[in-house]
């Protein structure tokens, strides 16, 4: 099939050009500055004579180093869902692709004059579709509201360029006020907010709500009691993440509760911190807990301290504390990474009772195998809600359960639809998939 094309590029171009001028009204294409019929040759190694030979090249294949067929007009569209810094650019590839390796796309601002104002913004392989998104490159940004001109050159294996017409973009780039690809996130978010606030309200009106027991929570009091009996300190590690990590926040709430109990029992508390802000907050919370327990004078300002913000240096320090001070109970609640196992094994070597809780999925197996009690994922948050004793907190747990129920029904629906598709040869599952799919690239 392809072979039929080889002989007639010149004719095709001749046919194409009138159609270009017809299409001009639609696409507002500027005619090239110099000459529409002959390609501009940018590379010095190609003499102008060769360019003039170009129309004949297709018919006489033996002609040495023929020029290339040039690409056609460029069409520009505004890209949706951007800040007005991108344009969708497509161009008509050369009719005769013979010898073309790539297309080089150049852009400049419409009023600018001169060869050096053109910037090479994209190289498209000849085998790829003749379309790309401009504005990706930070060196040549697109400004919103600015009118640009484009031109495309066919490039052969030697790097010689043969320019097509200069075209003015028919649109300028502009930013949008809503990202349509994020609609699903918005709907899901609103639904979630609605549900949570519904249960907040319900909780505040005093509706009694059942929450199932969590083994780790009951163990907390027991473990504090044990340390008191043994006259040994309690170590509380609030994880190695920042204060904006939800696991850290849950841990801080539990710390408040633990500290209050400890203040009542007059046991020593050690809280080494990894993050300076978490340290500040933890200190405040512990101080407050001692105040509430009525023993502000027994608060030791050195009990909550900052260690270092370097993962394994922190572990080295906590390990040292564990082996020197031999705490009777270790709490590891919060966000953890690879250090989880080092901490928990050292703690168990020192003979401590250990209670762990994290939402780090990859670290849970190590806590499960080495600690006495482990709060798995969401149980950590739920524990902080239990201990907070505030109706709204319980309401939030209820709301989360409702959301899980929705997710479960959707998965079950998918299961049913999947079976239906198998039996009845329909495509209902795809419909559901489309409904819940969010785009990866934004």
């Amino acid at each position: 099939m392809r072979k039929n094309w080889i002989g007639i590029p010149a004719i095709m171009i001749l046919l194409l050009l009138p159609s270009l001028s017809v299409a001009q009204g639609d696409d507002e294409i500027l005619t090239p500055v110099d000459d529409n019929l002959s390609a501009t040759v940018a590379d010095n190694s190609v003499t102008p004579d060769e360019t003039e030979l170009r129309p004949a090249a297709g018919e006489q294949l033996e002609e040495p180093d023929p020029g290339l067929d040039i690409p056609g007009i460029v069409t520009v569209q505004n890209k949706p869902n951007d800040a007005g810094d991108q344009l969708i650019v497509s161009f008509e590839p050369a009719v005769n692709s013979e010898g073309i390796v790539t297309y080089n796309i150049y852009r400049h601002i419409a009023e600018e004059e001169g060869e050096d104002t053109w910037n090479l913004v994209k190289i498209v392989l000849a085998i790829n579709p003749p379309e790309f998104i401009d504005g990706y490159d930070p060196e040549y940004p697109i400004e919103p509201g600015v009118l640009y001109e484009y031109r495309v050159a066919s490039v052969n294996a030697d790097g010689d360029e043969f320019f097509g017409p200069v075209c003015t973009a028919e649109v300028v780039s502009k930013g949008e006020w809503f990202h349509t690809d994020k609609t699903r996130v918005l709907i899901a978010g609103l639904l979630f907010i609605l549900l949570i606030f519904y249960y907040f309200g319900k909780a505040q009106r005093g509706t009694k709500m059942y929450l199932r027991p969590i083994a780790g929570i009951e163990a907390i009091d027991e473990a504090i009691g044990r340390a008191t009996e043994m006259g040994k300190p309690i170590l509380y590690v609030p994880g190695i993440s920042t204060i904006s990590d939800v696991a850290t926040i849950a841990s801080i709430t539990i710390l408040g509760r633990v500290a209050k109990k400890i203040a009542e029992y007059q046991t020593r508390l050690i809280v080494p911190n990894y993050d300076p802000i978490v340290y500040t907050v933890a200190e405040e919370v512990v101080k407050q807990a001692y105040l509430e327990a009525g023993r502000p004078d027994s608060y030791d300002p050195d009990s909550v301290f900052f260690m270092t913000q370097s993962q394994f240096a922190y572990v080295a320090g906590v390990n040292g504390i564990m082996m020197r001070d031999k705490p009777a109970t270790n709490f590891y609640l919060g966000m953890f990474y690879a250090e989880s196992l080092i901490l928990a094994e050292t703690g168990s070597l020192s003979g401590a009772i250990q209670i762990a809780g994290t939402d780090a999925v990859t670290q849970l197996p190590f806590f499960i195998t080495t600690c006495d009690y482990t709060l798995i994922g969401e149980e950590l948050y739920a524990a902080s809600a239990y201990l907070g004793h505030e109706p709204k907190q319980i309401g939030a747990v209820k709301g989360q359960d409702a959301c899980k129920a929705i997710i479960m029904s959707l998965i079950t629906l998918a299961l049913v639809l999947g079976i239906l598709d198998l039996v009845a040869n329909t495509h209902t599952l795809n419909w559901l998939r489309d409904l819940v799919t969010v785009s990866i690239v934004e």
């Binding site: 370097s310 849970l364 197996p365 479960m408 079976i419």
Partner: protein
């Protein structure tokens, strides 16, 4: 010379840390305290060279980006922690970090933790040409996810056919996953040790090359 001393120092500290495996001891204690101090000192230099200098001082004094004084002042409020009477001012920068962090987190969590996970669970059990173990896998995947979700229900007692059996299967699936993750991680952890052995026996003692 510099490198030789460096490798000797490094090797001795490596051994100091390994000595902890036997017992906590003064050498480990020294290494432990040193690394806390050095790592923190390193972070100070790093933050100064990568944030304070190029993102705050240079733009303000070199480029007249006066607006950057706002985060600078906000950050300086942390210092009020050390002055008890106005220590509450340090809550302002914390509130800034907290609020923006939570706001950024909300849509991203909704997308990554909820919608994308849901999407991955909405799969056909069987499509043509799928080997039996993949079909079985898909079945386990869907029912496993459902059961494990039941385990995380807090507002219903784990009793009865649905919640009782469901949560039991759920914890089974979770444990199976945890066992596999544990086993899978062993390999990477052993490699870390191999790295240190290479350092001690190669770089330091030159027993192996």
């Amino acid at each position: 010379m510099y490198d030789t001393i460096g490798i000797w120092v490094g090797a001795l500290f490596t051994l100091a840390i390994y000595s902890f495996l036997y017992k906590e001891n003064p050498v480990y204690r020294l290494a432990e305290h040193l690394v806390v101090g050095i790592s923190m000192g390193y972070i100070i230099v790093l933050i100064y060279n990568t944030v304070i200098l190029p993102k705050l001082l240079e733009p303000i004094f070199g480029g007249n980006h006066w607006l950057l004084i706002i985060p600078g002042l906000l950050g300086l409020l942390y210092i009020t922690r050390f002055i008890p009477s106005i220590a509450w001012l340090s809550r302002y920068p914390i509130a800034f970090v907290m609020g923006t962090g939570m706001g950024i987190g909300f849509p991203l969590t909704m997308k990554a933790y909820v919608l994308r996970q849901l999407e991955a669970a909405v799969i056909p059990l069987y499509s043509s040409g799928m080997p039996w173990h993949e079909v079985l896998g898909n079945i386990v995947m869907i029912f496993g996810t459902l059961a494990a979700l039941i385990y995380f229900f807090f507002s219903k007692p784990h009793k009865g056919l649905f919640f009782g059996t469901g949560s039991k299967i759920g914890i089974w699936v979770i444990m199976l996953g945890f066992g596999a993750t544990f086993g899978f991680t062993v390999m990477g952890r052993i490699s870390l040790l191999i790295g240190r052995i290479q350092y001690l026996m190669g770089d330091w003692l030159h027993i192996i090359e």
